[in-house]
Symmetry: C2
Subunit: 106 residues, 2 copies
DNA sequence: CCGTTAGTTCGACTATAGTCGAACTAACGG
DNA sequence: CCGTTAGTTCGACTATAGTCGAACTAACGG
């Protein structure tokens, strides 16, 4: 399998970023990635079928939020933090801070 | 017409806020409001039919981003900046800063 | 009162996003 | 090679969001 295409930081759209993060599952994935990078998709599935998970990762990838690298048989995901920070200063950081704070486990 | 109901700051959801701002028209409305508050809906219509505009204002209202007060025959909208800042510190400010920077008129 | 202004609500339509099973693909491991 | 692991792609379905015209509503202004 070839490596993935990732959009250039300069081509990213704020609307797409916000949209991608407005889904609770995707936001959670991003939070978990922020806590532990890089990570394959599997541990983040949270009980969903692989095809759904794959869809969400693809949305995050197209929004420029994550980078996926094929390493052997696993696909390692990481956040494009520096690029996002230079393109959208403060945005991801503020969102992650709030999302983490809301993560109080019941 | 009665005044509107606005959700309490503590009940707001980050996902809803991000979702509301992920629509380019709504983001633009929020930017314009940030520049000039309070403002009625009419000057922000941007050529769309009233029913569409009303829908978008309602989404922003339900997400807790704007407050609408009925003043005579007009409905004055303003951002709930302080409340959003205390509920979601830094989020709106960062998004607005980026959105404004991208507002380079052609 | 009656017209006007400002915006909402309703309903029908369209488009898009998410969901998931099934078939597929790519690379590793023995 | 052949099975396994990890994830993608496809296609069908469902649900939700946005769009807009038409009818409505609330308050003002004369």
């Amino acid at each position: 399998m070839k490596q993935y295409d990732h959009p250039l930081a300069q081509d990213l759209q704020l609307s797409c970023l916000l949209y991608a993060l407005s889904d609770p599952f995707r936001l959670e994935v991003v939070c978990k990635l922020a806590a532990c990078q890089p990570q394959p998709c599997a541990p983040l599935q949270d009980g969903r079928p692989k095809s759904s998970v794959s869809h969400h990762f693809s949305v995050l990838r197209k929004a420029g939020i994550i980078r996926t690298e094929v390493v052997g048989v696993t696909h390692m995901n990481s956040l494009r933090e520096q690029e996002l920070e230079s393109r959208f200063p403060g945005v991801l950081a503020a969102i992650l801070a709030v999302a983490r704070a809301g993560d109080v486990p019941a």
